[in-house]
Amino acid sequence: MFSSINIFGLKRSIFLPGLFIFALIVASLLIPGLSPYSEDIRGAVHFEESNLSPSFSHYFGTDAAGRDIFTLTVRAALTSLGIGFGVVILAMFIGTPLGLIAGMKGKWIDEIIMRIVDGFLAFPPLVLPLIITSALGPSINNIVIGIAISWFPWYVRIARSQAIVLKNQDYVLASRSFGGSSTHIILKHILPNSLPPIIVQASIDAGYAILVAAGLSFIGLGAHPPQVEWGLMITQARAHFLDQWWTVTFPGLFIFMTVISFNLIGDGLRETLNLNNREE
């Protein structure tokens, strides 16, 4: 369904942040083989080298346990991006079908689904992931579940509003006039056409998910050693950052750049995908 998107037609606004994310994934996969400090990824400590400032042997310096911050920061991208993708995929998988069904069927089905959704949305943004992860116990998987559960309502809403608009499109009416069933119409017509705004939302949310996960890890609800995750790195270094600025700056910078990148990709996708619409 994306064959209509021409890679070379992608806006530069997608290209650069996309390249950053791609490079980050590649680097995080390769770093265990390339870094002389790859042991640190598994939790090795070298107290004799603790709190070294950035240098040619340690690009981002070392932390209080003597671990190479460059290696850890790059590797942490894998965890953090995994969380980001995990959250949006899960939220999309829960939210989109519900939204499409609500929008297509209307009436009491719509009513019930939207009541539930509004119930979820009644919580202040960070409270639900907090409650869910503290109930399920601190771990990365639970963070993903916690954030996804509190975010899927947004996907329900987008999918629903798409379905409501799309179900009256002529091609849907035509399909119905040929005897197309609801399932056929949802799968062939409504879903493919409602995906662009959902994907735009997902790419923006992927960034925020990383941010929220970092926040939860920061307060001890997420990753735990020896896992490497940006939020956790910042927590562990937070007593030190006044004297050893590099300990929190680099993970922080990577969170920042990743979130911004996903946001730019989202914006770029929005423009690119809109090219296919009649309102050029």
Binding site: R42, G43, A44, V45, F47, E48, S50, N51, A64, A65, G66, I158, S161, Q162, V165, L166, N193, P196, P197, V200, I204, G207, Y208, L211, A214, G215, F218, G220, H224, P225, P226, I234, Q236, R238, A239, H240, F241, L242, D243, V248, G252, I255, F256, V259, I260, N263, L264, D267, R270, N274, N277, E279
Partner: protein, 532 residues
Amino acid sequence: MLKIYSISCQRIAFIKCLFRTLFTAMFVILISCSKDHRNEREPNTFVFVTYDDVKDWDPGTAFSLEVLPLSNMYELLLWYDATGDDPVFIPGLATSYKQSPDGLQWTFQLRKKVKFHDGEDFNAEAVKFVVERNKSLGRGASYIWNVVRDVRIDNSHQVTFILNEPAPLDRIVSSQYGAWMYSPKITDIPEDSLRNGYDGGTGPYRLKKWIRNGEIRLEKFDEYWRGWTLQNAFSNVNIRVVSEASTRIQMIKNNQADYVTQIPIQLLSSLQDVKDVKVEILPGWVNHFYLLNTKKYPTNDINVRRAIAAAFDRESILRYVYKDVATRPVGFIPATVPLASSPDSLIEFDLNYAKHLLNKADLPDESPEIIFSYVATSEEYHLTSLMLLDNLRKIGINMRIQPGLWSAIWEKAKYIDTAPNIISMAWWPAYASPSDWLYGLYYTQNPPLFNLAHYSNPVMDSLIAEAWKNEAFHPKNAQNIYKEIQNILIEDCVAIPVADLQIWAVYNSKIHGIRGNPAYNTLLFYNLARSG
């Protein structure tokens, strides 16, 4: 298809994102630097910043961080001064005391014209009341009174303690927990009020206000019997709870605090050069160690416990984490505590040996998981956990780290189901004797209070009791028994000693009167003053 987003929406969304991200990035910095602008520094207010709050305001049962405010609100019959080479007892609420030749009767002359903060007179009846109430409550450090059979009121200001067996009662009445003298009027106070902050002492400061997890405000007690003669003494003391170490550092650097505790030792060197900040190492009787749960799988297996001890790289931790604030432990009791002795040897760091021990354990699990709990406010524990995690990984044990607030991890550690396998522990004694460590930590307790290793050994129990009996008149015997006990602890591998700590006092250099007395893990505000 509907165009959901307009251009302006996109911009707003982007700017929002930018701000949210920036905000979150700043969040860390903000919470670390958060300044309380309401707090205008008054010259006669002393600001003490600590990392956790008081849990128990009852002077008869409090047995933890309460020592800081309570030792300023309450007084003892005698003070134990361990600053010099020969410890001496200093008169407190008792002016003098003498013991019978058999050591079974101790008579104390009580200070006259002393009033409790609630207006009651301090007298013989109050002393009898305190001892009997603490004994009957049976919580906290009440065990210190176990040897006392009766308190006899000789006259309004003289009491005689009648003991079951000879014991060094002067050390007991100068205990830093469980020996505070408080007003008998406490029985009129409803439970609720006790829980929300109570003060019935005779000390120089009285409780003015308590904001839970925020601040304890003390004000000077005008009718304090010693009087207020010190120039520039503090009429108010604010004890503030700040859990972030970096915030505490900021506060001392910015002159928002006069004294801060629990500064990560690795960061002390950077504070030494800061103007107006003084870092002083004072003698202390505090040690850090890790208790190994003897009842919970897989540390219920002695070989697993020994393997963990052998995987514990104490030397690195001492050298790089505790630096010169701590000394190498000789046993389970700080070396400078009177009558302290040491076991024959400690289990030393040896990964091969650890691996060998683990194989001997023959566990059903290929790679067993153990849980390590520590007080999150301590950077030293945190770094130690990373060291142990790494070493245990090398011998094939998965360690799961659970940092938490002391109150939370303590509560969990009391019950086998929720207890971790390893828990961080810092100990300072109620009274200065090895038996305090041993009785508090390794004597059979059901349910456990501080015996978080869930260790129970009848031989150990009787040895601890016997050593204690010998302390008063056969100190050499006592010392030998303490050695024997510690050999058993090594043998059973109940705990891993890490460091004998000194007190690292970080305070404003204008403050005078800070003196280290290892017998009391507190700061006596009455002696302090601010210069210029």
